[in-house]
Symmetry: C2
Subunit: 233 residues, 2 copies
Amino acid sequence: MTQDAFSKTLITTASDQVFVDMRREIVEGSIEQGSKISEPELAKRYGVSRATLREALNRLESCYLIERKANVGCRVVALTAERLIEVYQVRSALEGLACRLAADNMAADEVQSLKQLLNQHLQTQRVKEGESYYQEAGDLDFHYRIIKASKNEHLIHLLSNGLYQLIRMYRVQMGMVGPRVSKAFDEHLAIINAIENHDGELAELLMKRHISASQSNIQAKFDLIAAQKKAAQ
Amino acid sequence: MTQDAFSKTLITTASDQVFVDMRREIVEGSIEQGSKISEPELAKRYGVSRATLREALNRLESCYLIERKANVGCRVVALTAERLIEVYQVRSALEGLACRLAADNMAADEVQSLKQLLNQHLQTQRVKEGESYYQEAGDLDFHYRIIKASKNEHLIHLLSNGLYQLIRMYRVQMGMVGPRVSKAFDEHLAIINAIENHDGELAELLMKRHISASQSNIQAKFDLIAAQKKAAQ
DNA sequence: TAACCATGAATTGTCGACAATCTTAAAGAA
DNA sequence: TTCTTTAAGATTGTCGACAATTCATGGTTA
């Protein structure tokens, strides 16, 4: 029995392992977005039976990474601009709530610990200027900590087990680049300050704006791709 | 191939049927909340193999009606006061969002159709005074229509396939009674008016209050039960 | 040529049996 | 007695095979 790094899921069964492995491959793009999934093929690849694989597929479906149709099969989710809007609308509402609850509930030592995390980010950010992946993980960790601090188990599950992998997928494959990195850091700082002052209303507002900015950043990437396609014609 | 009445799910496979049947039994309390689930027993009862049953269990898990532990088994979710708070916090955020989007998007004829639905509710409410189930279904249908009108597919799925059965479970088993029925009607009316005026901000606020009132109503039932228990000691 | 229908191949859904794990209860030691 | 250990029983996890459905290919007909 081991533990997964990102979602802190306990890995006990074979299907757990396949689930975590496939999730990583889908999020990182090793298994291409929008591609069809063949059960016999993947079962052979992961060295498990179809029953075990299907168990994993079920769980991938419930975190929105694949889509199933009866008697037809599975597809990896496609990262479209439309879905980006939909998902981020939901994310904004839920993480906004989480942030407000965190501001209400968070103890002083928890806030200090979070501040310390942010300082770590500042260090590594200066070192790894431009490189996005570590910031990626760190940023998600920041959001993850706030979600946890909401102390609402249902919300925590909905976000960290449900929505977060899809968001990571957008961010890993559509990348966060350029000056956005340091701006995001400042926004994180402002959010922490609001939480420290137990100003739930402000914390919620700032988090929603922060998420909205992140959405615009990815949206710009979509626009860029669309423009390139048009130019190529 | 047939269709389910509540979530409009297409029923094509045997596991679909088991899923819908079990869902109804759990929501209505035929399968007791908090009770342990035996796979061999239920498989025999529904006349399917364990593989088919487990497929259904997976889907019940993703709509929060049962909880699984590896190598241990399933339990039906327990309706606690703590969970009520958590779920309704999430519900408030998501349906608030849905209501705002509906106010932004909804066309005039859609609004008219919704008003008509509300008039129907008024009729049946007068006839079936006190009886809560029909109002229950009607009320959920009202919320369902607004969720649909948000036109956000991800949000629609999250609410109608994910959260709504659990909310129904609370409402069916913890009941909505007394003067709450007619108050709820007035609140629905106010929400529709806000939507008709495309006042998203107000619509969201009113929906959140409406949901909060509904929560208090159920909470009161919990308090009542707790008081009765204390008196019995 | 285009539309429709059959036939076969491939894929998904379902089943019963076996292996691995947990639970329970009895037996033994401190 | 109380705690630990162990063995039996029951439950869940996993497997390979069969049945049902869908998809692709080629042939037939208007």
